[in-house]
């Protein structure tokens, strides 16, 4: 029997779907084109500014204080990635990057420290597996996100994935969005709770409405949200946007932004500023009016390139082999068997009976090439849909795993050090790349997020269900790639003189959240980098003594922000008083390390260079 046939037979036995076809996001000719432009740039025939725009439009971001290297951002539309693609990324990361890949908070996968001259080779490899870096950076429509629960969420109206894919396809390489005032982000949710719909330029949540006795599919659309140095929550456009108006709504919004957005002041040129400055009611009217114009003028040919139907997964997904009795323990502790602890914190039952979504806990999104290969083979053989989704929590979600296969899945992950628990708990801290590779970063937020996770898992905090809905998100500067403003406890990096010593510090924020009810966190106080973990632990300790019956950490923090605490800690002022001892540093002479950043054995200096988020 050939290997292929053997694999096919074993798939049949397990009931895994045939693999998804190559999505063909990438284009071969773009790789050649990129290599050619790099040569021209090196020969001095293209100016640095011009080349930067070109490079960013093709998804290569300059690396921290070293222009010879790039961060290659691989778009993963809707976060959906096949086993073949994961294996390809593994090989490319070994060949041209640092042997690890990195899941971003916008569902991209990034390869860091790639030599500029090798970017075209990375692109070439990606094209083979159907991926692209085109428009992953630059002033255009970035990776279109979709909740990783879309299609399996028990509370969703319908699966938003095909819409998300169709929007991504429509805007990719579309002349109408190649030179926007600034980047543009579209996020799809699945239900009220999941998805980053209120912090995107356009956020969409699937909904069904009865119109003339007919059940009509559509969306609740939010416009003008976004995270950054100044963040805004999106505004609801209308009660309900029927599915046949999704494209025109998106086009109208992009067109308005293109026409009216600020092209002068880079610090205020995201669409949220335009919405803010115009005033929501006026902007809303403009959108509705523009939408009608779009609908009356768009050619059929243009409209046809938005094709939801073609994006529907038409494979008949195999059924589960019935309900499996699983040890879904009410309670686990840090002494529980590793499998039980993992099951408790890393798996979620789907609306499809007997099927589970499994989460792979990564440290701030990092995964090695060999781990990627283990993951790919587990997906290929144990996920009935044969794909994974990247998550904004910088983990992987593998869906359609049968209850009866969970143990095997866990065992396979264990062999590669991928079976850490805590993916769906407070332990799964988010951290942007920070000073590991970003020009704008002031602090090493990336390492800090990993340290938080390591410490929390050591302490078994993942096993405390009352902490599970709280989130910790860390950015290395105010620009919010770590999404600190939608965390229960968020942090963004800065530099502060403490005594006579310049020190890495984080501004701590409280009470942010994602989803349709999402709110932005409130800045509370500055915490030295090396005191962050102890400060969070102090917050948890205080919560445990102060909470009301059944109240989760997140609920408690939100209540404190509102000044509605019941016990000794009623409001943020009380909270600050409790935390002041936790943030104190010993004198610099006795403990110089306390004034250094994570990953550094020398004196801290805040060094940044021009950002490349905008070109």
């Amino acid at each position: 029997m050939t290997r292929a046939r053997a694999a096919a037979a074993s798939q049949k036995q397990r009931g895994v779907s045939p693999p998804k076809p190559n999505p063909k996001w990438g284009r071969e000719e773009e790789t050649e084109y990129f290599a050619k432009k790099v040569k021209l740039f090196r020969q001095g025939k293209i100016s640095e500014d011009d080349f930067r725009r070109f490079r960013l439009q093709h998804g290569a971001y300059g690396s921290r204080l070293h222009a010879d290297y790039s961060m290659v951002r691989i778009k993963v539309p809707s976060g959906e990635i096949t086993a073949d693609q994961i294996e390809k990324i593994a090989s490319l990361s070994e060949a041209f990057s640092i042997g690890s890949a990195h899941v971003s908070t916008r569902q991209n996968i990034q390869l860091h420290w790639v030599q500029l001259e090798d970017v075209s080779e990375v692109m070439r490899g990606l094209v083979e597996s159907g991926l692209t870096t085109r428009e992953a950076c630059g002033n255009t429509v970035r990776n279109v996100m979709c909740s990783h629960f879309a299609g399996v969420c028990p509370n969703e109206a319908f699966d938003a994935t095909p819409y998300s894919m169709a929007v991504a396809r429509f805007f990719l390489r579309n002349p109408m969005c190649q030179n926007l005032p600034r980047k543009f982000k579209v996020n799809f949710g699945c239900c009220e709770k999941h998805g980053l719909v209120k912090v995107a330029d356009i956020g969409l949540v699937p909904a069904i409405k009865e119109i003339d006795g007919r059940q009509v599919k559509g969306f609740r659309v939010y416009l003008g949200g976004g995270l950054g140095a100044a963040s805004f929550i999106g505004h609801p456009l209308e009660d309900f946007t029927p599915e046949d108006r999704v494209l025109s709504t998106c086009m109208a919004t992009v067109r308005l932004f293109d026409r009216h957005g600020n092209r002068e002041n880079m610090a205020r040129n995201r669409m949220r500023y335009l919405v803010h400055e115009t005033g929501w009611e006026k902007f809303q009217k403009m959108v509705l009016k523009e939408r009608t114009a779009v609908e009356m003028t768009t050619s059929l040919a243009t409209a046809a390139s938005y094709d939801v139907e073609s994006q529907v997964d038409k494979r008949a997904l195999p059924k589960s082999n019935g309900i499996v009795k699983l040890p879904m323990f009410d309670k686990v502790t840090k002494d529980s068997p590793a499998f039980e602890r993992w099951l408790h914190t890393n798996t979620v039952p789907q609306k499809q009976q007997g099927m589970f979504t499994v989460f792979i806990t990564l440290g701030a999104g990092d995964i090695t090439a060999s781990q990627l290969r283990v993951l790919a083979s587990a997906i290929r053989e144990l996920s009935a849909e044969g794909v994974a989704r990247t998550t904004p929590q910088q983990n992987f979600a593998v869906r359609y795993v049968r209850g009866s296969d969970l143990k095997e899945f866990f065992d396979r992950l264990s062999t590669a050090g991928l079976a850490n628990p805590g993916a769906l708990t407070v332990a799964s801290a988010v951290g942007c790349s920070g000073t590991t590779s970003c020009n704008l970063a002031i602090t090493n937020s990336h390492r800090l997020a990993k340290e938080v996770q390591r410490r929390f898992l050591e302490l078994g905090l993942d096993t405390d269900d009352s902490l599970a809905d709280a989130t910790i998100k860390i950015s290395g500067c105010p620009n919010s790639c770590g999404q600190h403003e939608i965390a229960t406890i968020g942090f963004f990096g800065g530099a502060t003189r403490i005594g006579n010593t310049m020190s890495p510090t984080y501004t701590m924020l409280f009470g942010g959240s994602a989803g349709e009810q999402g709110e932005l966190g409130r800045a509370i106080m500055r915490v030295p980098a090396k005191r962050v973990i102890d400060t969070i632990l102090k917050i948890i300790e205080t919560y445990r003594t102060e909470r009301s019956q059944g109240e989760t950490l997140h609920q408690w923090v939100v209540r404190i922000v509102k000044g509605q605490g019941a016990g000794n800690v009623k409001n943020l002022d009380d909270m600050k008083k409790v935390l002041v001892p936790a943030i104190q540093l010993p004198p610099a002479e006795s403990d110089p390390d306390a004034y250094r950043d994570y990953g550094s054995d020398s004196k801290f200096t805040a060094k940044t260079a021009r950002g490349e988020c905008a070109a």
Binding site: H112, L362, Q371, T436, S437, H446
Partner: protein, 296 residues
């Protein structure tokens, strides 16, 4: 698995005859001996083994060799060679292994070709030019279900001349001079993070990790050529490769550059380890915490 082996064999066999004829025709100069390309593929090696007209050199550890190796292979662990790799001693080794002047020699390892490359380079350096790298590692060979034997092979001692090829070699003073010379280029073949941490000033990084591809210790010539040309390195450059300690990774880079059509390549076998021990200057990049991105 059994089925797989059969399939692999069946696939390999018919190709062999055609290839063998082609190669035999090409052979000129040395009657009876084939002139090897830089990389020897499995088909060609199997033909030569069958015809008993090749010396196969296994550079893995002695115990790995004993557990099974490619038929007719002799054992020369890299460590043994490195104990004393003076040209005189290397020629003695060639003689001990029964290698005559024109005999084709194919070297293999189980370390993505880097150890084999260091040995092959040493053989060529002392004058045994007809040396090639096997296209794959021993694990891959075995994985394809190709022939393996456990018997320890020895051959009658041979005579081999010593003819050092200085063109292939660079030492620290040579490297130091080359740093400022037009048309000469240093290539560091260590992994990216090691390179960023510290390297010989002016060196460019071509990590060994980009040289191979699945199933082959080196990519195809045209791919390698494209990747090196992307770096804007002119074909007529003189390139000196080095790595961390003993010239294995850079040995592989040496052959990759050769395969890509760069003829003027040198190896600095004592590499960065010696450079540092001599207290020579190095470039360091400390502006980013790149090590913290690694998921290791």
């Amino acid at each position: 698995m059994r089925g797989l082996k059969k399939a692999a064999k069946a696939k390999v066999k018919p190709k062999i005859k055609a290839r063998a004829v082609k190669v035999a025709k090409k052979a000129k100069g040395a009657p009876g001996f084939v002139r090897l390309p830089i990389v020897c593929d499995a088909d060609l090696l199997r033909t030569l083994v069958r015809k008993k007209s090749v010396r196969v050199v296994d550079v893995r550890r002695a115990e790995d060799y004993k557990a099974g190796h490619i038929p007719t292979a002799v054992s020369l662990p890299l460590a043994r060679l490195l104990e004393n790799d003076s040209p005189e001693r290397v020629v003695q080794i060639l003689e001990e292994l029964g290698i005559t002047e024109k005999m084709p020699v194919v070297v293999y390892d189980d370390t993505f070709g880097a150890l084999a490359a260091r040995v092959a380079w040493t053989f060529q350096y002392v004058g045994h030019t007809n040396t090639a790298l096997l296209e794959m590692t021993f694990s891959q060979w075995k994985g394809l279900g190709l022939e393996v034997e456990a018997k320890e092979n020895t051959f009658k001692r041979a005579k081999h001349p010593l003819s050092v090829n200085k063109e292939m070699y660079a030492d620290a003073p040579y490297v130091e001079a080359a740093q400022s010379q037009q048309g000469k280029l240093l290539v560091d073949s260590r992994e990216r993070l090691n390179f960023l941490t510290e390297h010989i000033p002016t060196a460019r990084n071509i990590p060994y990790t980009m040289l191979g591809s699945n199933g082959s210790i080196l990519r195809k010539a045209d791919e390698l050529k494209r990747m090196i040309e992307n770096r804007g390195i002119p074909q007529d450059s003189e390139i000196i490769t080095y790595c961390g300690s003993v010239g294995t990774l850079s040995g592989l880079a040496y052959y990759a550059l050769k395969l890509a059509g760069y003829n003027n390549v040198k190896l600095y076998p004592k590499s960065f380890k010696e450079w540092k021990s001599l207290g020579k200057p190095k470039d360091e990049f400390k502006e980013a915490n790149y090590w913290d991105l690694s998921a290791e």
